[in-house]
C-alpha cells in the first residue's frame, strides 16, 4: 500500500518536473549524456528522500537545490578540462542553444557571456536562476541556502559587477565571435 503511494507520488514528481530539471542542466553542462546522467541523479535523490520533498510549488525549488549539488560534483570532475580549455579559474558558461544547431552571438551577447564568466559563482548563480530559470528571490534563497535578503544583495552586486565587466569587455578590440553549439544528442 505505502509502496504504491510512493510510486504514484514519485511518478507524478517526475512527470511534472523532469523537463525543468533537464533544462537546468542543459543550460549549464555541454554534453547531453552528462545532462541525462545528472537528471537521473537528482531524481534518485528525490526517490530516496521522498518524505522530504515538499508538496506543490515547493517541489521544483527543492529539486533545483539537489541539482545545484549534483552540478557541483559534476564540475569537480571537469575542473581540469575547463581550466585547460579556458585558461581561467572561473567555471565556464556552457552556451547550448535549443532548436538551432548553431548560432552566432551578437557582440553584446558575447560580451555578456564573457562578463558572466568573470563573476564569482554565488553571484552568477543568482543571476542565472533569476533570468534563466525565472525563479523569484524567495525560491532562490531556498535553493542556495541563504535568506531572501542575501539574494537581493547578491543580485544587485552581481549586476553592478556585470556592468563593470561589460565596460571592460566593451573596450576590447575585435573580440572573436563565440559559436553556440548545441550539445550532441545521444540516441
Amino acid at each position: 500500500m505505502d509502496h504504491t503511494v510512493d510510486e504514484i507520488r514519485f511518478r507524478d514528481l517526475f512527470d511534472r518536473h523532469h523537463r525543468s530539471v533537464t533544462a537546468y542542466f542543459t543550460r549549464r553542462v555541454p554534453d547531453e549524456t552528462e545532462v541525462l546522467s545528472a537528471t537521473d541523479d537528482v531524481f534518485l535523490v528525490a526517490w530516496r528522500r521522498l518524505d522530504d520533498v515538499p508538496e506543490g510549488d515547493g517541489a521544483l525549488p527543492w529539486l533545483y537545490g539537489v541539482a545545484r549539488k549534483v552540478l557541483a560534483n559534476h564540475r569537480r570532475g571537469l575542473t581540469r578540462f575547463t581550466k585547460l580549455r579556458h585558461k581561467i579559474e572561473a567555471e565556464p558558461i556552457y552556451p547550448v542553444r535549443g532548436p538551432a544547431t548553431e548560432a552566432i552571438l551578437s557582440v553584446q551577447e558575447e560580451q555578456m557571456l564573457r562578463a558572466l564568466e568573470t563573476l564569482p559563482w554565488k553571484h552568477r548563480e543568482v543571476l542565472l536562476l533569476t533570468y534563466w530559470e525565472q525563479l523569484p528571490h524567495k525560491d532562490i534563497g531556498r535553493i542556495l541556502g541563504c535568506s531572501t535578503e542575501t539574494v537581493h544583495v547578491r543580485r544587485y552586486r552581481a549586476v553592478n559587477r556585470l556592468k563593470a565587466a561589460l565596460g571592460q569587455t566593451g573596450q576590447a578590440e575585435n573580440p572573436s565571435p563565440i559559436r553556440l553549439q548545441r550539445s550532441q544528442h545521444v540516441d
Binding site: H18, R19, P54, E109, H152
Partner: protein, 387 residues
C-alpha cells in the same frame, strides 16, 4: 553605461534554452534508466529503509483514523497548510481586518511604520496610507512611492522615506518627493534622527550608509550586509554575508563588527530590536537543502542582548517578519501559516479560523499603543493585546 533593464534583457537573450519544451522528449529514456537504478537502491540487501516505510505506514493509518477531524479542520481553516501540533487557543481574538471597504485595496499593504504621533502607516505598490478614524487615507500615491516599493520608515521630523532596490531612496514631501543618490531595499531611522540604508552602489561603492545633516557616509567593511534594524541605543544590526555563510553583525560608533553569538547557524533574516535593546532574528538552518514540511523544523528565533543569546525552535514554517512587544511577547508572521505569538512558554496562533483574511502574512509590527498590526494581500490586520 548599461542600465539594469538592458542587463536583464541581455541576460535573458543569452539563455541557451529559454523554453524547456524545445528539448527533445527524453522522458521514456530517463524513466527507464531511473527505474533500474531506483529498484536497486530501494531494496538494499543489508540496510533496508525501515524508518521511511514505517513512517509512511503510520501516516496512512493516522490519516484514516483522523480523516474526519482533518476534514473538519480544513473546513474551518481552508487556506491553512497542515500543522503537526496544537497551539494555544485564541481566547479573545480582538482582531480587526481593514480591507478594500476601509481604503486598502487587495495587494496594497506590504510594510508598516508609525508616525511620531503613533498613527499607523502602511505602504505598498499602491502608495502610502494613514489610518484615520478606522479608514485608511492615501497620503502618497503610486507615483510617489515608485515602481518597486520594498520598505519605509519615518524620521524624527515625521518625513516618510521609501526604499526600493530599483530606484533611488525617496523622501515623501507633501504631494511630491525628492530622490537621494542612494538606492537601497532597506531603510531604518535611528532615535538620533540618522537614516540608515544599504546602498546598492548607485553612486558609491556600496555597503551600509548613514544620512545625517544632509550628507551620506559609508561604513567601512559593510559591502555584503543586508536586512538592517536599529536599536533604541543607536546600534545598527544586520546580516553580513561572508565566505563561510551569513553572520550577525553590528555597527556602533561607525565601527563594523561580526558578532559571535551562541546558537544555530544558517541564513539570518527578519532582524528586529526589542525595547530592552536586544536584537531578535530568525536563523534558517542550513543542514538540509530545502524543506518545507512542518515536521522538519529548520528555523529558530534567536535573541542576543550583546552578551548572551537564547534560541527558540519555531514550530511553523516560512517566517516573514518578527516584532517584540514591550511586554516581552514575541510576534512572528508566516507567509504560510498566519500570525504567532510566543509568551516565553507557549505559542498562540492566529489563522483564518480566528479571523485573518488569509494565512499569508507579509509583515507585522507593534504600534505605540501595544496593538499588533500585520499586512496581507487582503488588507491590514490589527490585534489588540493585553499589557
Amino acid at each position: 553605461m548599461w542600465t539594469d533593464h538592458e542587463i536583464a534583457d541581455l541576460l535573458e537573450r543569452v539563455n541557451p534554452l529559454p523554453d524547456p519544451e524545445a528539448l527533445p522528449d527524453r522522458s521514456e529514456r530517463l524513466w527507464t534508466s531511473l527505474e533500474s537504478k531506483r529498484t536497486d537502491r530501494s531494496v538494499p540487501a543489508t540496510k533496508p529503509n525501515y524508518r521511511r516505510r514505517a513512517t509512511l505506514a503510520a501516516a496512512v493509518v493516522a490519516v484514516l483514523v483522523t480523516s474526519s477531524a482533518v476534514a473538519a479542520a480544513l473546513f474551518l481553516d481552508p487556506d491553512a497548510p497542515p500543522l503537526d501540533r496544537e497551539f494555544d487557543a485564541v481566547e479573545q481574538p480582538m482582531l480587526t481586518v481593514y480591507g478594500s471597504g476601509q481604503g486598502i485595496a487587495d495587494g496594497c499593504a506590504w510594510r508598516l511604520a508609525f508616525a511620531s504621533t503613533g498613527t499607523p502607516l502602511v505602504g505598498g505598490p499602491c502608495g502610502v496610507f494613514e489610518l484615520t478614524d478606522n479608514h485608511w487615507e492615501m497620503i502618497a500615491d503610486e507615483v510617489a512611492v515608485g515602481v518597486s516599493f520594498m520598505d519605509m520608515t519615518v524620521d524624527g521630523e515625521g518625513v516618510i522615506w521609501v526604499a526600493s532596490p530599483d530606484q533611488p531612496l525617496r523622501r515623501l514631501m507633501g504631494d511630491g518627493f525628492t530622490e537621494m543618490e542612494i538606492g537601497s531595499p532597506w531603510i531604518a531611522a535611528a532615535p538620533d534622527g540618522t537614516i540608515w540604508a544599504v546602498d546598492f552602489g548607485f553612486a558609491n561603492t556600496g555597503g551600509l550608509v548613514a544620512y545625517t545633516e544632509g550628507a551620506w557616509r559609508t561604513i567601512d567593511g559593510t559591502e555584503m550586509v543586508s536586512g538592517i534594524a536599529v536599536g533604541s541605543d543607536g546600534v545598527v544590526w544586520m546580516n553580513a554575508a561572508t565566505e563561510t555563510g551569513e553572520e550577525l553583525a553590528r555597527v556602533s560608533q561607525d565601527t563594523f563588527e561580526i558578532v559571535d553569538f551562541e546558537g544555530p547557524r544558517g541564513s539570518i533574516g527578519s532582524l528586529t530590536t526589542a525595547p530592552d535593546g536586544a536584537v531578535w532574528f530568525v536563523v534558517g538552518t542550513n543542514d538540509t537543502i530545502y524543506r518545507l514540511g512542518v515536521s522538519d523544523q529548520l528555523s529558530y528565533i534567536v535573541r542576543y542582548d550583546g552578551a548572551s543569546s537564547t534560541s527558540i525552535e519555531v514550530p511553523f514554517a516560512e517566517i516573514s517578519d518578527l516584532a517584540v512587544h514591550p511586554n516581552g511577547t514575541v510576534w512572528a508572521s508566516s507567509s504560510l501559516h498566519g500570525i504567532f505569538s510566543y509568551d516565553g512558554e507557549s505559542w498562540t496562533r492566529y489563522g483564518v479560523a480566528d479571523g485573518l483574511p488569509v494565512n499569508e502574512v507579509h509583515s507585522l509590527d507593534v504600534a505605540p499603543d501595544g496593538s499588533v498590526y500585520a499586512t496581507t494581500d487582503q488588507g491590514v490586520v490589527r490585534i489588540r493585546t493585553e499589557g
